[in-house]
């Protein structure tokens, strides 16, 4: 499927957007995912930064489902992120995020996300802020 925004790879295989305040998603890490051939040639590991990309794509899918397809979600702040366990080819990334619209500005979304591996190991935890924008406005 064609992508609606520039991204290094399709960083989620499936996304559950049913809940208004939460989103969950998963992705199987594959050695032939885009960009991974260079990270690294002798040892493939899913870059931590791509977990942020996975969360961003899950949030964007949630925004599309709840606000409409004309909305984009731009990452404007990484308040904190911690990477704690590696994701290697064959692993499955499972992420859960809580999405809270800002009290002052409902177009600023605060996102608290946790990423786990299929064996339960926590790969990353992060608090991010996204700004919604109606691209047609």
């Amino acid at each position: 499927m064609q992508r609606q925004f520039c991204a290094p790879l399709t960083a989620v295989d499936s996304v559950n957007t049913e809940s208004e305040s939460e989103v969950s998603a998963s992705k199987v890490i594959k050695a032939d995912d885009p960009y991974l051939s260079g990270h690294y040639p002798h040892f493939t590991i899913y870059p931590g930064i791509f977990i942020i990309e996975s969360v961003g794509q899950a949030v964007r899918a949630h925004v599309t489902a709840h606000r409409g397809a004309t909305y984009g979600a731009d990452l404007v702040e990484v308040s904190r992120v911690r990477f704690t366990a590696p994701l290697l080819p064959g692993n499955t990334l499972e992420l859960d995020a809580r999405i809270t619209p800002g009290e002052q500005d409902p177009d600023l979304l605060s996102v608290k996300a946790e990423a786990r591996r299929e064996d339960g190991a926590r790969c990353a935890a992060m608090t991010l802020t996204f700004r919604l924008e109606d691209r047609n406005a």
Partner: protein, 161 residues
């Protein structure tokens, strides 16, 4: 002062995820300035619907952070080299705090990462800095922690239960 072949001797990253083109300035243990030119021929611009809204051609912030992180890795590794020491293991992006992104960047833009070493303790390097395009500040990186980890000690992947 460092061109691509020099950078490739220092960083283990290879295209398409080698996201630093050139190092302009370096002061051992203190700071490094590196650039990366964004091009529409990079893989992140393939497979897009056509046309998109202009903002959806913005370079992914995840890759911008990675590019900054690689500049930080260069600061650490070049500092070690200048002191005649080595950093054992692979550098890993361990954590970050208070990073803000205030502008979009597009193909043709040249990112200029200005990275400063806050402190370097054993296998941990705390860095800070900004990313600019011309005189426009794109990102402010409050604190980034990189750690050196022996690959053999990385927990190995386990198959699905």
């Amino acid at each position: 002062m460092l061109e691509l072949p020099d950078i490739m001797r220092i960083l283990p990253h290879r295209p398409p995820i080698l996201l630093v083109d050139r190092v302009l300035e370096f002061e051992a243990g203190v700071r490094l300035v590196a650039t990366k030119t964004i091009s529409a021929s990079e893989p992140c611009y393939t497979g897009l619907a056509d046309p998109l809204h202009a903002a959806d051609y913005a370079y992914p912030t995840s890759l911008l952070i990675e590019s900054f992180g690689q500049s930080g890795a260069l600061l650490w590794l070049c500092t070690a080299q200048a002191k005649g020491t080595t950093v054992d293991g692979t550098l890993i992006f361990a954590q970050a705090r208070d990073c803000t992104f205030t502008g979009r960047v597009y193909p043709g833009d040249v990112l200029r990462h200005e990275v400063r070493m806050d402190h370097l303790v054993g296998n941990n390097a705390f860095m800070t800095g900004e990313t600019w395009v011309g005189d426009r500040r794109i990102a402010t990186m409050g604190s980034v922690l990189a750690v050196a980890r022996d690959e053999a000690q990385l927990p190995q992947s386990r198959g699905p239960a």
